[in-house]
């Protein structure tokens, strides 16, 4: 319902010392009409030019400190509020590749009243 708004294209930035970048980060919103507990965010798949980065490379921070996706599974006291931007950190030696590339995000949510997982997708063309 909000797919086209998941990635804030203007927020993509590299992390680490300029001569030894360790990854990149960007702001994202939850593609859902309400907030959701972090334990129900099953996957945040980040891809560059169609190639998914490893699950272990992704960290999430809604403002209370970064968590791995495994740690989110039991973060029962934390929520991603509706319409709120959270930071997604991605470990990638060298940072986001130079030139123009397609950054994609897929969110897999466990919504209790749905019989199947809910998937949200967005992709944006990024040139840092």
């Amino acid at each position: 319902m909000f797919d086209k708004y998941l990635i804030d294209a203007d927020s993509v930035q590299n992390i680490g010392p300029l001569d030894a970048l360790t990854g990149f980060s960007f702001l994202s919103k939850l593609g859902y009409y309400r907030g959701l507990g972090l334990s129900m965010i099953e996957e945040l798949v980040v891809s560059i030019d169609g190639e998914a980065l490893p699950r272990e490379a992704v960290r999430f921070d809604e403002g209370k400190g970064p968590l791995t996706l495994d740690e989110m599974e039991t973060a029962y006291d934390r929520r991603w509020p509706f319409g709120a931007a959270a930071t997604i950190f991605v470990s990638l030696p060298g940072g986001f590749p130079g030139g123009s590339h397609e950054l994609a995000l897929s969110q897999k949510l466990r919504i209790s009243y749905l019989p199947f997982p809910s998937f949200n997708h967005d992709k944006k063309r990024i040139a840092l």
Binding site: M1, Y33, R34, G35, Y76, F82, R110, S112, Y113
Partner: protein
């Protein structure tokens, strides 16, 4: 002589603008007040960033805010995360505890109606009835398409309410169950996704003829060799029922709040899909008393090609309601205020 039907709006209607930070909650309430829709339906998990830990000060500030605009809180939309843990579903006791948590917050906010998600089991709700009675909150199970007023699952909740002889458990109809015509905004989006006009016309015609959806899905998917968008459109018929509005009176005593779902209001104040012209007369005829709460859900169907203006859509729906209620009162006579 005025109607007992009170105009309201759900904050769900403004999800596009709130998600994008173009409107905050108070902007929505101020707008609702400006068009006379004074009953405000809230989704705490959408509208309260600190949910579920809501302080007394926050509760008071909500009450003050709506009062400042001459409004009141009409309904509370609860959720139940039965799948909060990846490794096991919530136990029955945990489900009851979660619902009671919501009943208490609902009561603190001074709200008398709670929208219960349709998937919540009737026997779980039965266990919550003593709390609902103590806190004086009506638990209304959302009758949402593809369920409808006389669906066997919904009748289980009615039976549970009768068995317990309680006025605090019942239903809360979503008007999406009265989809008489296939929404033009649905069709247009599927066409933008690659559905061919001759196929979409076939699907619309099938829906118009009320042919059971599985026939249409098979025709499109197999016989016509439908593409992805065409099959998706055909499958949307599974969620596009037209329930009989004439049954409304039979169930009116089980609901006190209505989610007035809609996908599009045209410039001449018509809803091209939902049969409000048949629903409103039935509500007036049976003397139903409660809030008719706008629930605009058109944003997701048009946001890829146009700006979403939820305010204008909600405004148009209330112009239509005013007309339909006035006409119905002329036909059936207005209920005493």
């Amino acid at each position: 002589m005025t109607t007992k039907i009170k105009p309201g709006v759900s904050l769900y209607s403004f999800q596009e603008e709130m998600f994008l930070g173009q409107m905050n909650v108070e902007d929505c309430v101020a707008f609702a007040s400006s068009i006379g829709a004074k009953g405000i339906e809230i989704l705490p998990e959408q509208n309260m960033p600190n949910f579920p830990d809501i302080s007394d000060a926050e509760v008071e500030s909500w009450k003050d805010m709506v009062a400042r605009h001459g409004c009141h809180l009409s309904a509370y939309d609860m959720f139940l995360d039965t799948k909060v843990s990846k490794d096991r579903p919530m136990t029955d006791d945990e489900q009851v505890a979660s619902i009671v948590r919501d009943l208490r917050l609902c009561n603190r906010l001074g709200i008398k109606n709670m929208r219960i998600l349709v998937f919540v089991r009737p026997d779980i709700l039965g266990k919550c009835v003593p709390y609902a009675e103590e806190l004086d909150v009506h638990m209304g199970v959302e009758v949402h398409a593809p369920w409808h007023l006389e669906h066997a699952w919904i009748l289980r909740t009615i039976d549970e309410a009768d068995r317990l002889n309680t006025r605090h458990l019942g239903i809360l109809p979503d008007m999406g169950i009265f989809m008489k015509h296939y929404p033009p905004v649905f069709r247009a989006r599927f066409e933008r996704q690659g559905a061919r006009p001759e196929i979409t016309q076939f699907i619309v015609d099938q829906h118009e003829a009320k042919i059971m959806c599985e026939y249409t899905i098979y025709e499109v998917a197999v016989k016509m060799g439908g593409n992805k968008a065409e099959i998706a459109m055909a499958e949307s018929l599974r969620h596009a029922p037209y329930a009989n509005p004439k049954r409304i009176g039979d169930y009116a005593r089980y609901f006190r709040h209505i989610q007035a779902k809609f996908y599009e209001m045209t410039e001449d104040y018509k809803d091209p899909a939902i049969a409000y012209d048949e629903v409103i007369p039935e509500l007036v005829k049976c003397g139903w008393e409660g809030t008719l709460s706008s629930e605009y859900e058109g944003n997701r169907w048009i946001q890829d090609v146009s700006e979403v203006d939820s305010r204008e859509q909600v405004r148009r729906q209330h112009v239509m309601f005013d007309r339909l209620i006035t006409e119905a009162e002329q036909t059936f006579g207005a209920a005493d205020a």
